[in-house]
């Protein structure tokens, strides 16, 4: 038995977070995926029903001939569009993950003080550092990994649904929908994004945990109102203008990073994204750039930006602060 070794203890701590937050980490993305698929089934059934009722006949043969006569270029374009479609399915899951992790972070070091169970956890040989880091890991590793599996399940469900619909109309779904290299490459990217997402999320999760650990009551207000108030105050007195930085800069790089960096893929540059979408319609798809907006290169480059590096340092500092207050505060005084 290796009871009590730091790694073993850490594994149990993360497991504890999972037990407590199974509803948010596992069931929320699963339910969002299920609801989404159900809506899609209903929409397809309705579309089919309306089409029959109005005597519209979707001519499958022609559609299939269309795909058969596509050149390699057009085919690649279609598949790039397909990738974007499949990635878009990540939006509802991403939104769900954002809210789950946001409220998890606010409560993680506060709720057990409010209900006094912190006294039980602190009666065990667990360091405060281990406790806080296990909560960081739960927020930026465990929850996103589970959400990613939910997304993949949703994508598979979507593909199966579309294939059935295609088959119903006599179209062979395989060449367009089920390209194994495409799907595997996209899933590899989804998993490659996880560490980048996790590092990018550090300032937000650090800030939330710091508030959760520090606040004697109402950690939500601390976490949300303080940055927003600072932003408003700054816009008002225009402090940043003196540093030749705009107010937008403050909102985006301070307020935004403190509150929204846990959104998966929020490190992707919006401008680049738009260009990427446009290029998807052009020639730039390339052999490797399977999803044009999300190249392996873009994932790697994101790690070396000053935004990323400064965020990591700030996040680590706030996590250290959360550990400090975790040690000081045993109960809340709400």
């Amino acid at each position: 038995m290796n009871t009590g070794t730091p790694m073993n203890t850490f594994a149990w701590l993360v497991k504890r977070e999972y037990w407590e937050n199974r509803g948010g980490f596992l069931w929320t993305p699963a339910i969002v995926a299920t609801v989404f698929l159900s809506i899609m089934v209903l929409a397809l059934v309705w579309a089919e029903f309306m089409a029959r009722k109005n005597g519209v006949d979707i001519n499958g043969i022609q559609l299939e001939q269309l795909t058969r006569h596509l050149g390699p270029e057009e085919m690649a374009k279609m598949q790039a569009g397909m990738d974007i479609g499949l990635l878009t399915l990540g939006v509802p899951i991403g939104i769900a993950l954002f809210f789950v992790v946001f409220f998890y972070g606010i409560g993680a070091l506060y709720n057990d003080r409010a209900d006094r169970s912190a006294l039980f956890w602190k009666s065990l040989p667990i360091s405060d550092t281990g406790t806080v880091l296990s909560k960081v890991a739960a927020a930026i590793v465990l929850a996103p990994v589970l959400a990613t599996f939910a997304l993949i399940a949703l994508q598979l469900g979507f593909l199966i649904l579309m294939s059935l619909y295609a088959l119903l109309h006599g179209i062979n779904p395989f060449p367009l929908l089920w390209s194994p290299t495409h799907l595997v490459a996209m899933w590899v990217k989804l998993f490659l994004m996880l560490p980048v997402n996790a590092l990018w999320a550090l300032p937000t999760i650090g800030w939330l945990l710091l508030c959760s650990s520090f606040a004697r009551s109402k950690p939500f207000l601390w976490a949300v109102m303080l940055p927003i108030f600072a932003g408003v105050l700054n816009s008002w007195i225009g402090l940043m203008n003196h540093l030749s930085l705009s107010n937008t800069w403050f909102w985006r790089h301070i307020v935004g990073r403190l509150l929204t960096s846990i959104f998966p893929g929020s490190w992707l540059d919006a401008e680049q994204l738009r260009e990427g979408f446009q290029e998807a319609g052009g020639m730039h798809v390339g052999v490797n750039g399977i999803s044009p907006t999300l190249t392996f290169e873009a994932i790697g480059n994101a790690l070396a930006t000053p935004d990323m590096l400064i965020g990591i340092v700030a996040g680590a500092a706030m996590i250290a602060g959360a550990i400090y207050f975790r040690r000081q505060r045993t109960e809340s005084y709400a």
Binding site: T3, W12, S117, L119, K122, S123, P125
Partner: protein, 295 residues
């Protein structure tokens, strides 16, 4: 087992404090407290609300900052909390187990993180209760939560057990069972128990040592035998009451038309000439000593 842990012999104190102080703003919670607790003792730390009991326990457990010197099992609780918690257990108040926790998971978790936890022992204690492994804490009654907590804690082979109002709000059956389990299945000459409670009557027979704390100071620190030697209660008929009063009793109360006087350090042979001599109960002693606390 932690090899760096200092060896504790029967004469090295488990807890030793010198000049222990703690203030919250203008309030003095602990005022220069000196104390020593030896292994194999069951010490009751008794005091009125706000006297500093919980503050003292929090300091001993490394849960709050303090001034002065404090050594628990040879370690400074401020800097070695995690190591200390391998040898120290505590039940702080009733019902602090997280409500979402499942019983089976609680056992697994403690077994996973605590090197001195015995799963067999814990299962044995749980088997005596009506607690089911599939239940969550929120489904248990307050008494059952304490049974679960006690089963977890008694399965840990710790040197020091700290109990802060462990039976508050429980009915008498659970309270009796709680202390009986502790005595029969847990306590031995190598273990030390430090307990605070307001239900003095129930623990008085199990204590080996008594400490009274008032306004952040320890005002009584003695073994139960010493307390018995030092304090005496005499039931005096009205005709001898003035003679008794002349000996400066700590307190006087009336029962069945007679006066009961509590004396500190008076000559017991002389007292017995005034009336019937008793050992005072800790509760009576407490009331006499704490007179005027809330006035």
């Amino acid at each position: 087992m932690n090899m760096d842990m200092p060896q504790v012999s029967s004469t090295t104190p488990i807890i030793s404090a010198r000049g222990l102080s703690k203030r919250y703003g203008a309030t003095v919670a602990l005022d220069n407290v000196n104390l020593q607790i030896l292994p194999g003792r069951i010490v009751g730390l008794i005091g009125p609300n706000g006297a500093g009991k919980t503050t003292a326990l929090r300091a001993i457990l490394g849960l709050s900052e303090f001034d002065g010197e404090l050594s628990v099992l040879g370690l400074d609780p401020r800097t070695h909390r995690t190591e200390l918690m391998e040898q120290v257990c505590f039940i702080a108040d009733v019902a602090v187990l997280p409500r979402w926790l499942r019983v089976a998971d609680a056992v697994d978790f403690v077994a996973g993180v605590h090197p001195r936890f015995s799963r067999e022992k814990c299962e044995k204690f749980l088997a005596r209760t009506k607690i089911k492994h599939t239940q969550r804490v929120r489904e248990l009654s307050k008494g059952m939560i304490v049974q679960l907590h006690l089963a977890l804690v008694m399965a840990i082979d710790a040197k020091l057990l700290v109990l802060d109002e462990p039976t508050l709000g429980l009915d008498i059956l659970y309270r009796k069972e709680f202390y009986e389990s502790l005595l029969n299945d847990y306590f031995d000459h190598e273990k030390t128990i430090l307990v605070t409670t307001h239900q003095i009557e129930e623990i008085e027979r199990i204590l080996t040592d008594l400490m009274f704390i008032k306004d952040g100071r320890i005002i009584l620190d003695a073994s139960m035998e010493a307390v018995g030697d030092r304090y005496a209660e005499v039931m005096v008929a009205p005709d001898k009451a003035d003679a008794a009063r002349a000996l400066k009793p700590l307190s006087e109360r009336q029962i069945f038309g007679k006066s009961v006087f509590l004396f500190d350090g008076a000559d017991q042979a002389h007292l017995s000439t005034l009336g019937e001599l008793h050992k005072p109960s800790v509760a009576d002693l407490f009331v006499a000593t704490m007179k005027g606390t809330y006035a």
